[in-house]
């Protein structure tokens, strides 16, 4: 396993590359991104500590998108031959890798639904609920609070909003009293209220311990 420290903005995995290793995030926030010819960017997923961001490359070979560091990060690269060895020797671990990519797919469905059908405040609220539960599962959030040091332009690219609309939506969400957002700290004051506003159902995150 090769460890690497990345500065904000650096690429963990490059589009069109053919990685021979897969990347796991140890600390910081990373994003999967697709950049269009005119420079417009869509962040299609956010990944946090513990996420195996690049398990896809093991099977896909050629990357169709890139993964970038949204904050300073520490990551580890695991050679594909080692992944293969683990899967062959311990089939249940292979199923856990599979589960990880299946949950990535479930999160993607939730994001598509938000983008296509949720109102802006519900879309942002849904993302906040999701991030809180994911960060809480790896002990990076507690008492409704978590650090989310990303710029508003990055939030805009993750939500598919214009920058001005992100500002408007933050103000509207703040006015509900369910959540406070100061600097890089998000504090959920009323999780149930925020979840109801956002129609957030955590089933898709599969945060339950079951035999797989």
């Amino acid at each position: 396993m090769r460890r690497r420290v990345l500065r904000k903005g650096e690429e963990l995995v490059a589009q069109n590359s053919q990685p021979s290793e897969s990347c796991i995030v140890l600390s910081g926030f990373t994003a999967r991104e697709v950049v269009l010819a005119d420079g417009k960017r869509q962040i299609t997923a956010l990944h946090i500590a513990g996420d195996f961001v690049d398990l896809h490359a093991f099977l896909l070979k050629l990357m169709d998108h890139s993964v970038v560091a949204l904050t300073d990060c520490e990551v580890a690269y695991v050679p594909h031959r080692e992944l293969l060895r683990v899967i062959e020797q311990s089939p249940h671990l292979g199923r856990l890798f599979w589960l990880s990519t299946v949950i990535d797919g479930a999160i993607q469905r939730a994001w598509i639904t938000s983008s296509g059908r949720r109102a802006a405040t519900a879309h942002l609220g849904h993302l906040i609920c999701e991030l809180y539960l994911r960060l809480h599962a790896v002990d990076l959030a507690r008492d409704g609070s978590f650090a989310f040091p990303v710029a508003q332009t990055e939030l805009a690219d993750a939500l598919g909003f214009s920058l001005v609309h992100v500002n408007r939506t933050l103000q509207e969400l703040r006015a509900t009293g369910f959540v406070r957002w100061k600097g890089s700290t998000v504090a959920i004051v009323d999780f149930d209220g925020l979840a109801a506003l956002s129609q957030f159902d955590p089933t898709y995150l599969n945060l339950v311990k079951l035999p797989r």
Partner: protein, 92 residues
Amino acid sequence: MPRYFIDSSDGNFSHIDSEGVELAGDAAARYLALDALPDMVREVLPDGDQRQFAVCVRDEGGKVIYSASLTLAGGWREGYTSDLENGPLIDL
């Protein structure tokens, strides 16, 4: 880089930009302001027949240097008696 402030209103909810954003120049500020209009429209329509959406850009001195608006003007054609008079078909 100069700082610009972009205010917006969807006819109901107004947002006054108190933070501002540093941009390369006037063209980028105009782009950002116009970019907000379709988002605002998508958010609230359809919820009526009359509405005005507006954005404006202020410079560092607080002077409005650019403004734009979109107007929704809907209505049943003259001579047509809408069944809406018996109550709306879709209850929003």
